[in-house]
Every structure is written in C-alpha cells, then in structure tokens.
C-alpha cells in the first residue's frame, strides 16, 4: 500500500540545491510513496531561532503547523530542519496552546534516511552508484535525532558503492548556520580539517544527510581544488545506473 508522504523542502534546498529535493521525490516514489508538496511552505525558522530571534522564529513555527496540520507523514532531506521541527518547535511554543499539537507534528516529521529505514522499513532502495564514498555524520542528525546507523544502512545496500571510513567522521564540519558567516575563520578552519580527513581516505565522494553541511564542505573542497565531491544521500539513492 503506498504511503502518503508530504515533502518538507528546506528553503535553501528549494532555492540553491533543488536537485536534492528532486532526488528525494525520486527515491520516495520508487519505494511506492505518494508524494505531495505543499506549496505554501517556506522556511522552518531555524536561522532566526539559532541566532536568538525567537520572536521572529515563532510565527514560522505556527505557520509550519498550520500548513502541515493534516499531513500524516512529513519527510525532509535535512536532519537539521527536522531537528528544528521535532526538538525546537516544542521549546519555541512551550507556553502556547499549540504545544501538544506541535509536539505531535514533530513525532511524524522524519529525516529521509530515518523515514526509509525506520518507518518504511526499506534498506535497499534499488540504487546503484559505482563509486567510493565516505560518510560525514552531520551533527543535528547524529546528536539531536540520534541517527547513527540509518544512513550507513542505506549506503551499504547501494550497488557498486564502496563505503570508506574517514577519521573523525562525526566531528562537526564547521557549518553551524549563521556561525559560518559570523565566524568565518573558525568555520573555514573546521571545514579544512574535515577536507583533510576526506582527502586522507581518497574517496571520490563525501555524503551526508544534511545539505547545508555539504554546501559548506563543497565550498571548502572547491576552493582548495580537492578532487572529492559532495553528494547528498538522496542523490546517491536516486541513481539506478539506468538513464531515465
């Protein structure tokens, strides 16, 4: 029975990395989901929330709830944005009459790999990607959502994919939202350490479940002229080796 899935596309994915969302749709449809996209959605409010502007973030949370109120299952290709909805909305709306409803909403909002492995029970999505890939565990997915094994489980089932472990795979890449711009030198140095670890394993690709980390890491890799490329997990899973 196809499951109805409502897509939650982070604003920066919508505007800057549309392929990640398109690939998410491809993967979800391939495992039999009926995918919808509510066009009223914008941003979850995390940039304001993380910068201390809770009064600016709160209406985004309320609006998100209004839009997704009737969605039975919400899937997002970003651990960080899911963290905002699941972990921080209840905090942001702690003294609101919407608190219980927003907590329930968070419980049915899933990061893509989490949805595939834990909810849909699918580890093999029929993907093929004959390349060497190393995995970076994005912080919000790992430590806020507790997603340790799910992305790796999916990668292990991808045909032809050679998974190589890098040192300090669970150390922050240095993105951190507005931190990346406000404290560019620290963020850049952290990114460079990550790039060193990527280069040390010699993988063709580095993947993660958070497009924001990858956008930052790609910027660092390109600036250094490194060979490795970033690719979102959804974009690996979308590949079947056959031309569409």
């Amino acid at each position: 029975m196809p499951r109805k899935v409502s897509l939650f596309v982070p604003c920066f994915v919508d505007q800057l990395l549309p392929q990640v969302a398109l690939d998410t749709v491809t993967v979800l449809r391939r495992i039999g989901c009926e995918v919808s996209f509510l066009e009223e959605q914008t941003c979850c409010g995390q940039p304001a929330f993380n910068s201390g502007y809770w009064d600016e973030a709160r209406p985004c949370a309320e609006r998100f709830l209004q839009i997704f109120r009737d969605a039975e299952c919400i899937v997002c290709p970003s651990g960080s944005c899911v963290t905002m909805v699941r972990n921080f909305y209840p905090e942001l709306l702690a003294s609101s009459s919407l608190h219980a409803e927003v907590a329930a909403l968070g419980a049915r909002t899933y990061e893509l790999s989490e949805f595939l492995v834990k909810v849909a029970g699918v580890s093999d999505v029929g993907a093929s990607f004959p390349h060497s890939v190393t995995y970076h565990a994005s912080c919000h997915g790992l430590r806020e959502l507790g997603l340790r094994s799910e992305p790796l489980e999916l990668l292990r089932w991808v045909k032809g994919l050679k998974l190589v472990d890098m040192q300090r795979f669970d150390e922050c890449c240095g993105f951190g939202g507005t931190f990346a711009a406000k404290f560019g030198s620290i963020s850049g140095a952290m990114g460079a350490s990550k790039a060193d670890n990527i280069a040390a394993v010699g993988a063709e690709y580095v993947t993660a479940i958070d497009p924001s980390c990858l956008m930052h890491v790609q910027g660092i890799l390109s600036k250094r002229g490194d060979r490795a490329k970033t690719i979102h997990l959804a974009s690996i899973l979308a590949q079947t080796g056959k031309s569409a």
């Binding site: 201390g52 209406p59 430590r143 240095g174 620290i186 850049g188």
Partner: protein, 490 residues
C-alpha cells in the same frame, strides 16, 4: 604596583600581574585571535596530538565502568540535588567546618574574597604563598592581589607553574600548558630555571621540583581549590596527580581553600561516583593519584597539617544563575574539561582565544552570566554541534544553553540593529510564500549575474563573508518549487 625585585626572595617567580592589556573589546579580540589561531597549523598539530591521546584514555576509562551512562545520570542527580538545596548543604558544610575548628568566609565577589585572604596574609606576615591548582583563584585574580602586597606566589602544579613562568593564563582548565611541547618547555626552563637542561620531560620535571620544594618549605600560607565540598563531612575534596596538593595543604602554617559555592555535594558517599567520573572525564584515569579530604586544621596530637584552615566560598555571580530556573543546571559543572576536549571550536582556536578564565563550551555558557554582556559573543561562537553535551559527565545540556544565552542577548537588545532589521524582513518574507518566491528568484538571478561577471567575494557580493573561505555556491536557475509546479501540475 609590584615590589622591586630586591625585596623579593631571590628564587621567587616574577609577579603574574604584568600581562599586557590587549586592545579592543573582548569580542573584537576574540575575532582577531580566532582568525590568527585557526590558521596556526603548528598550534593545531600540538592540540590534535594532545586531544588524541586524551580521547584514547577517555574511551578506555569509560569502558571501565559497568554502565557509564548510568554513572553520568547518577552524577547529574547528585549535583541537581546539591544545587537545588544549595542553601541547606552550604550551611551544613559551614557548621561542620566550624565544629572542626576551621573558618568559613562567604565572599559575594572577587573583591571580598581577595580582601579576606589578603588581610589574613598580612595578619600572619606571610611572605610566600604556595598554590595548588584552582580555577576559582584565577577567576578572582588572587595571585595579582597578593603580589600587590609584596607576597611571592608560587604555582605548584607543574602545568600552572609553566604558564606562570610564561606570564600566561592557563590554556585549559585541567591541563594548563597543553599548548606547549617539550621543546618549548625546555627553552622556558633553560631561560628561567637552569641553563644546562635538556628537553627530557623527567629532567625538566626534576628541575621544577627542585625549585618548588624550596617554596613549599618556606611558604607560610598554602592556597588550594576544592573539587568538591562535602556537606555532611564538613570537608573539602581535592583530586590531584602530582602530590603538590597535599604539600600545599599540609606544610604551610595556614591553609586557605578557595572554592565556588556550586562545588557542594550532599554526602561523603557521593564521592564514590563523582571522584572516578571526574578523573575519567578529566584525564581518562580510573581515579587521580591523590584524593585528599580536608576537614579542618591540625588537631592536638597530630603530626601534620596547618594551624589554621580557612574556606572561602565564592559566589561571584553564581547565585544569579541559581535564580535562573532555565540555566541553573550550568552550576552542576565539575570542571572536568571534557567539553573543551570534545569541542571542535576549542581545538581550532585554542584556550587563550576565549579571553576568559573558563574557555570552551562551559566557558561560553558561563562567562556571559558571570562577567556580563561583554562576553555575549562567545555564545554565538559555536556551530551548536552538541559534542560537548554528549560528553558532559553531569549531563549539562551545554549547547542548548548557548541557544538560551543567544535569545537573552537578542532580548537585551545588545545585538546589532541591522541584524534585527534583517530578521524582521526575513520573517516578513517567510510568512508570505509569494514574497519568499519573489525574493528567492531575484536573489538567485542577482547572484548568477554577479558571479557570471566574476564579482564573487567582492564588495558587491552579499555573500562575501561566506565566499571569503569557500568557493561560491553554484546558483541554479530554477527553484525546486518552480520545477515541481511544472512537472506535477497540468
């Protein structure tokens, strides 16, 4: 004013108070030093090596516990009980210390603490003070206060002694000299102690020991910190590895223990969990070499110990935190340093860049509360990765406290007006999908045009802060929603 060298004991260390005052606000200094240190690859390599050996020991240490997570929860519970009943346990501690013949002084701030200890030193005509490691004495700048009176102050923890000789503050709350390798320490000791020394750690340590022995036996006053203050026993508990703690607290005539009020724990038996958890989190040891409990001065018939025992309980802003229900648990901290070691920001910028007594995640959470909004920038200087929270032995939700601090900073309107305006505009767009789409479309069109002309990173580039350290993001022509509309609507 520092006394002329001739009036000081010939072997006394130079006063610490001669650190040059750096220019700019703490926030400006932080940005400048962070840029410099994060580009200093030699520094990063020293820290990387130090942290890697710590990580290996820490991992091994945790594995010795039958259930490390349960031990963390137990410690969290003990500290929560202690902090939530701080009034009761501190008074119980005081009553017990007084009954043992000790003295307790309640210092509201640094000035009161320093004044009490200074007066005590003057009353006893103290010329030389030996100190064992204590971050609270750094916090209240005690050494400088005593040096003003012409008293020679010796740091006797080896790491502290090294940074004292360099006129530097501690780099790390547990390992004060972790930013130095043996070559640098050898150079320092050859210059300051004995010219003929090699870089051999054993030889260097022996040279420091020769100096410090003289100090121990000439000092009239010993000053220590306390890792815990045990209410039911009326005793302070100290964990050390070098033996200097015991010499400091038992050889001089007067022992002064300086400690923050949050160090209290209810029961002696709580140490059974806290001591090994502290040692494991601090250095990976099962337990530190010395665990010392001191409850009062030397009693009749005892061979060792000071004639007078004073405990100085320092508030210095802590009760403000106690009154803050949301952030009270920050007082649970046992100063193990695990969050510093886990923090990728700390590892890239180093301890001195923070410009605070307590660096790293706990420092970034605590300092704005203890020292005010001048240090608010530290709460923003984090990627919120949460590595600190995952290692904290008393389970303080460190990175979420950074979020609370940020919110309070914005509320207090000490943040930039332009940023506030930006977020207001941002909100207006995010609440109106058409405005959002229009803004996104124009933004992408503008960036594509700009980058097409090769203007990325220039003054015309709104993302130049981003592009200073990274190659520009390739900007797509169409948003996802535009493509979705086209493909999924007829």
């Amino acid at each position: 004013m520092n006394p002329p060298a001739s009036t000081r004991a010939s072997h006394a260390p130079e006063p610490q108070a001669v650190r040059p005052a750096p220019a700019g606000t703490p926030a400006q200094r932080f940005l400048r030093d962070a840029a410099e240190k994060s580009a200093d690859l030699a520094h990063r390599e020293i820290i990387r090596k130090g942290m890697e050996s710590y990580e290996a020991a820490h991992q091994k240490g945790r594995a010795r516990f039958k259930d490390w997570e349960a031990a963390r929860r137990r410690c969290q519970h003990i500290k929560r009980e202690a902090i939530n009943h701080l009034d009761k346990y501190l008074l119980q501690f005081e009553t017990n210390v007084l009954a043992h013949g000790g003295h307790v002084f309640w210092a509201e701030d640094s000035a009161q603490a320093c004044a009490y200890i200074s007066a005590l030193a003057q009353r006893h005509k103290v010329k030389t003070v030996v100190k064992s490691k204590s971050m609270v004495t750094e916090e209240i700048e005690l050494a400088a206060a005593l040096e003003k009176l012409g008293i020679a102050v010796w740091e006797t923890d080896l790491g502290e002694y090294i940074v004292q000789l360099r006129h530097e503050p501690p780099y790390h709350i547990v390992t004060p000299a972790m930013h130095l390798n043996r070559k640098q320490i050898g150079d320092l000791f050859r210059e300051k102690l004995e010219p003929g020394l090699s870089d051999d750690p054993v030889e260097l340590m022996a040279a420091a020991r020769r100096k410090l022995r003289q100090a121990f036996f000439s000092a009239e006053m010993g000053i220590s910190g306390a890792n815990f203050i045990v209410a039911d026993a009326g005793a302070i508990a100290i964990s050390t590895n070098e033996g200097n703690g015991r010499l400091t607290t038992s050889v001089p005539r007067i022992h002064v223990a300086v400690t923050g009020i949050e160090k209290v724990i209810p029961r002696l038996e709580d140490l059974a969990t806290l001591w090994p958890v502290l040692a494991t989190s601090g250095t990976g040891q099962p337990i530190t070499t010395y665990g010392t409990l001191i409850g009062g001065p030397r009693r009749a018939g005892e061979a060792d110990g000071p004639e007078e025992f004073h405990v100085v309980l320092v508030d210095n802003g802590r009760s403000r935190l106690l009154a803050n229900g949301e952030e009270r648990e920050v007082l649970h901290c046992i100063r193990c340093g695990a969050c510093l070691n886990a923090c990728p920001v700390y590892r890239h910028i180093g301890g001195h860049t923070y410009g605070t007594i307590y660096p790293g995640p706990i420092g970034s959470v605590l300092t704005p509360h203890l020292r005010g909004p001048e240090f608010a920038h530290l709460s923003f200087a984090s990627s919120l990765c949460g590595a600190c929270t995952s290692v904290c032995p008393v389970r303080i939700d460190l990175h979420h406290h950074l979020l609370y601090n940020r919110r309070e900073t914005v509320k207090a309107a000490s943040s930039k007006g332009s940023e506030r305006l930006m977020f207001r505009l941002w909100r207006a767009a995010m609440l109106r999908p058409r405005l959002y789409s229009l803004g996104g479309g124009l933004g992408r069109w503008g960036l594509r045009a700009l980058y097409g002309l090769g203007l990325a990173g220039t003054i015309f580039d709104p993302l130049r802060d981003w592009n200073r350290h990274r190659a520009p993001v390739p900007v797509p022509k169409k948003s996802f929603r535009a493509q979705w509309k086209k493909e999924n609507r007829t």
